[in-house]
């Protein structure tokens, strides 16, 4: 994967602001499980969890497009937890931001070391 010209951190912050409406996320209330080392960046298992949350935004800060997915939980959700498999282009921070029951936001970050980048290249 070639390096792209735009500043990635700005893209991340734009996505966060769009999700939070500019509210500064706090600590605690959201969990992100991801491996410390992912041998294959094409398929990295991750789990997000935030009790009572209505939505969780998942970001890969070092990907060419940082937004990975937004999980919206409905009334029939048994828990506000979801697992999936994602692509990570290189070693980077994976970020989860949850919209909590009281309308506040929580943010957590986990660094994942990627052995073989998964940009589909």
């Amino acid at each position: 994967l070639a390096l792209l010209p735009f500043p990635v951190s700005a893209a991340v912050e734009d996505a966060v602001t769009e999700f939070t409406g500019g509210t500064e996320p706090g600590e605690g209330g959201v969990e992100l499980n991801a491996p410390e080392i992912a041998e294959n960046g094409n398929t990295v298992p991750v789990e997000v969890s935030a009790p009572g949350a209505s939505a969780i935004l998942l970001l890969a800060a070092g990907n060419p497009e940082p937004v990975v997915a937004t999980f919206n939980f409905g009334p029939m959700a048994g828990s506000q937890t979801a697992s999936t498999r994602i692509r990570l282009a290189k070693t980077q921070d994976v970020i989860a931001i949850a919209k909590l029951e009281d309308g506040s936001f929580a943010r957590t970050t986990k660094n994942v070391k990627v052995t073989i980048g998964g940009c589909g290249g």
């Binding site: 997915a69 959700a77 937890t81 697992s83 498999r85």
Partner: protein, 108 residues
């Protein structure tokens, strides 16, 4: 898109009010739009961009998906089952196709 096969794992029985674990997988390339073919041309993005799961018509989870979701998108989550009923799972392809799968559960 042809040859897209959804698979879901839903328990057939539960007790009232229990939360059950659901696993879903669908065969799809999730072409990211970042790859190039052997002539150096970008292969156009072609993904499933939304997945929903409902129970008796009410939402369990509704996921907005981007190209960073891996090939053959997989989701695992939990659902409440207050009564017997039907799970409906839908995957929305960018090309306009919708793939659907259902599962029945009996609450006793």
């Amino acid at each position: 898109m042809d040859n897209v096969k959804p698979r879901v794992k839903v328990p057939s029985k539960a007790s009232a009010g229990e939360s059950v674990t659901i696993k879903t997988l669908i065969s799809h390339p999730m072409e990211s739009g970042q790859r190039k073919d052997k002539d150096g041309n970008v292969i156009p993005e072609h993904i499933i961009d939304r997945f929903t799961a409902t129970f008796n018509g009410e939402t369990i989870i509704d996921v907005a998906m981007e190209p960073a979701i891996s090939t053959n998108p997989y989701f695992e989550f939990q659902a409440k089952v207050p009564e017997s009923g039907t799970f409906t799972f839908t995957w929305h392809d960018q090309d306009g196709d919708v793939y659907e799968e259902t599962g029945e559960i009996t609450v006793g």
